[in-house]
């Protein structure tokens, strides 16, 4: 690979975005669509060839050739690309491509900035995965946040999207300022901004300032990762954002927040906080468990299709945080595999929700009861998606879950297996339940609640008799991608080796600062998925039973009454999702105080 192609995945989309903004009216809607999709396709190709180039060892790219001279300080800004960064960038570009192709048939009436914003969003997320510099990470974070806020509030002809985008923007911006504060403190201590150099300068000394910096940065990125209690914005933003945008939000943006926490920990704080591994593990895993449980309960209680999927993302985000929070290379590899397969599956499900909206102009489960009879292909995609969310073979989520629970086995955190089971059963059963009701028309209509009545102006002008191929093919392709990842064992072994590199702070630092080639540690763990297969088949069976029990509970009388209370949800929990940005920021402050307090208690 020629290293000079490394900045292209960021540069090309930004230039095309500028061109489309300038010349969009002149070249017409179709040409904009084609140009934007072609750019995303080119980006898929470039990020794939970059990934191919870093398959065996990471590459460091210094902008303007400002590499650190021997013994000197780092003045330049660099991209450090390893398998983790490379794979995440590929995921970003694939999801953007699917979203852009899906969008050909929507927004027919409006003159909008959809394509340029999507391209900027893609460029920012690629840069976010690649960068090796703290402040650069913040700049890409803000670039992706601002384009995300604008994309979320794109349908400005009604108030609900504005509320969703406003809540999203306020909560995430408070998180961003916490990150700036944390970066400032780290710079004050070390005088550096490069991950490798900050990590090396911090050494193994941890005091209150280092802890405070870690708290601010980690919480700031956890806001993006929608970890409870920082998650409130996510459901509001997903409920109103256009479906192809939800694909990027749920499929990769949220996951990048967790990735940033992992990257910051392993390159900067691993040495300083290394002696406190147990304390950190317990903090991270308890946050992960709370997130998974609350997300799953809320997911099953929702009847607005996109909001339901949004809470499912929160639940799975908790499971992914468990992969990072166990602080072992094996669990970290599980995290990446889970992110890749969950990203495409959830992306496919959001596109399916977009198909339903396109077809019927409605998105509430109660209004849609029985509407989808005869849409067998879309129904099949929903069922396959639910299958993937349950972590059942042949989907890649199985391998991710297996690696994470393998990492938890034999530690104090082996109970995480039950959290996985709980979250997977509920989120998968929720998707099956809507499939049974909407596409098969089984049972009674769903109970109606406030969230199912959220008015959503459809993305297309009138309801359509059939589903266009440009909508169906991206959705089907994404779900199928969730399966193919398991067909290539070399992806899994590369991820496992990559996780060993990722977690070696000294190897990372010498690769960046002294250009020392990292020798690959071949991971010795053999694959032992048979126990996980049994567990995931049980999860799948339970979720089918739960979904059927919920749909047909009238026929079975009182024995299945618990499904009603599960479906209506806990009133207090639902009221906490109040839609008021002030409440969300109050929860954010409370969560920061609790996490900060436990950090100081456990680590001092």
């Amino acid at each position: 690979m020629i290293t000079s192609i490394i900045p292209l995945p960021i540069a090309i989309p930004l230039m095309v975005a500028a061109f489309i903004s300038l010349a969009g009216n002149w070249i017409g809607r179709r040409a904009c669509d084609l140009l934007a999709s072609a750019t995303a396709a080119v980006n898929v190709w470039i990020t794939c060839s970059i990934l191919h180039g870093v398959w065996s060892q990471p590459q460091v790219y210094w902008f303007g050739n400002w590499w650190p001279r021997a013994g000197g300080v780092v003045l330049g800004i660099c991209f450090v690309i390893d398998t983790f960064a490379g794979m995440l960038a590929v995921l970003v570009c694939v999801l953007t491509l699917a979203g852009l192709i899906f969008s050909w048939k929507i927004f027919e009436d409006t003159e909008n900035h959809f394509q340029p914003l999507m391209l900027i969003f893609m460029a920012a997320m690629c840069g976010f995965s690649y960068t090796g510099d703290l402040f650069n990470l913040f700049v890409f974070f803000e670039l992706m946040s601002v384009s995300a806020f604008a994309l979320c509030g794109l349908k400005t002809l009604e108030p609900a999207p504005l509320q969703g985008a406003f809540n999203f923007a306020i909560v995430n911006t408070v998180g961003a300022f916490m990150i700036v504060g944390g970066i400032g403190l780290l710079y004050a201590r070390t005088g550096a901004l490069n991950f490798a150099q900050v990590g090396r300068s911090l050494g193994t000394h941890a005091d209150a300032l280092v802890l405070l910096a870690f708290l601010l940065i980690a919480v700031g990125y956890m806001v993006k990762a929608a970890i409870v209690p920082f998650h409130f914005w996510l459901a509001d933003a997903h409920a109103v954002a256009p479906s192809p945008v939800c694909v990027l939000f749920s499929g990769v943006m949220v996951e990048l927040g967790i990735y940033a926490v992992a990257r910051i920990y392993w390159t900067i704080f691993a040495g300083a906080l290394g002696v406190h591994t147990h304390g950190l593990q317990s903090i991270f895993t308890s946050m992960a468990a709370i997130t998974a449980v609350i997300g799953a309960l809320m997911c099953f209680a929702e009847h607005h299709l996109k909001r339901l999927l949004a809470f499912s993302t929160i639940a799975h985000s908790g499971l992914m945080l468990a992969g990072v929070g166990l602080l072992t290379p094996g669990a970290l590899a599980g995290f990446l595999i889970y992110v890749l397969s969950h990203g495409v599956i959830k992306g496919g499900l959001f596109l399916c929700a977009g198909i339903v909206l396109h077809r019927f102009q409605r998105i509430g489960e109660d209004h849609l009861h029985g509407c989808g009879r005869g849409m067998w292909f879309t129904a099949a995609l929903f069922i396959l998606g639910a299958w993937g969310l349950a972590g059942a073979p042949p989907f890649g989520t199985l391998f991710g879950e297996d690696l994470i629970s393998h990492g938890a086995k034999g530690t104090h955190y082996s109970w995480l297996i039950f959290i996985f089971l709980f979250a997977e059963v509920l989120t998968s059963a929720a998707v099956l339940r809507i499939t049974f009701r909407i596409f098969f028309g089984w049972g009674e209509p769903a109970p109606s609640d406030k969230s199912s009545r959220i008015e959503e102006r459809a993305e297309t002008e009138q309801s359509h008799e059939r589903v266009p191929a440009v909508m169906f093919i991206p959705a089907a392709a994404l779900i199928v991608l969730g399966i193919t990842i398991t067909a290539f064992p070399q992806i899994r072994s590369a991820v496992k080796d990559g996780a060993h590199q990722f977690t070696s702070q000294s190897a990372y630092a010498s690769a960046v600062l002294e250009n020392v080639q990292i020798t690959l540690v071949r991971s010795s763990e053999h694959e032992e998925v048979s126990s996980s297969i049994i567990r995931s088949v049980i999860a799948l069976l339970l979720s089918f039973l739960l979904a059927l029990g919920t749909v047909f509970r009238e026929q079975f009388g009182r024995a299945l009454n618990f499904t009603r209370s599960l479906e209506l949800g806990n009133a207090k929990l639902r009221r906490a999702h109040s839609g008021h940005p002030g409440d969300y920021v109050a929860w954010l402050s409370f969560g920061t105080a609790v996490v900060g307090g436990s950090l100081f208690l456990l680590l001092h």
Partner: protein, 116 residues
């Protein structure tokens, strides 16, 4: 000695008041301005980090070698911070204008279409 920590305390103080304002605000414009106030805490923090007693401006064209200067890097960070957040504020305020047009209110209590 205490004075050296004063700017950091002020930064924390502004941050907390900004949070308080956002949480209790009854008006979306007011809420956005509170976010802007919260942001100024990062300016104070960055300035405090880069400040050197007796330092001059870091313009190296006409000062003798060895002159004490304040840290130019934090100023660059702050500039980026300002640019980035100006965008966010503009976007947020434009959303407030739109919300007022469509819903006829700027009270976050009344602008609750999504909840539960």
């Amino acid at each position: 000695m205490i004075l050296a920590y004063l700017p950091y305390a002020i930064a924390a103080w502004i941050f907390l008041w900004g949070l308080y304002g956002i949480v209790t605000s009854k008006n979306l414009v007011h809420q956005v301005v509170c976010l802007a106030i919260l942001q100024t805490s990062t300016y104070v923090l960055l300035l405090a980090i880069g400040y050197k007693v007796g330092g001059t401006a870091p313009v190296f064209a006409d000062i003798p070698v060895g002159t004490v200067v304040v840290d130019p890097l934090v100023q660059a960070l702050m500039l980026t911070d300002i640019v980035v957040e100006a965008t966010v504020m503009a976007l947020l305020l434009s959303m407030v204008v739109k919300a007022n047009e469509l819903a006829g209110t700027v009270d976050p209590e009344e602008l609750r279409f999504l909840m539960g």
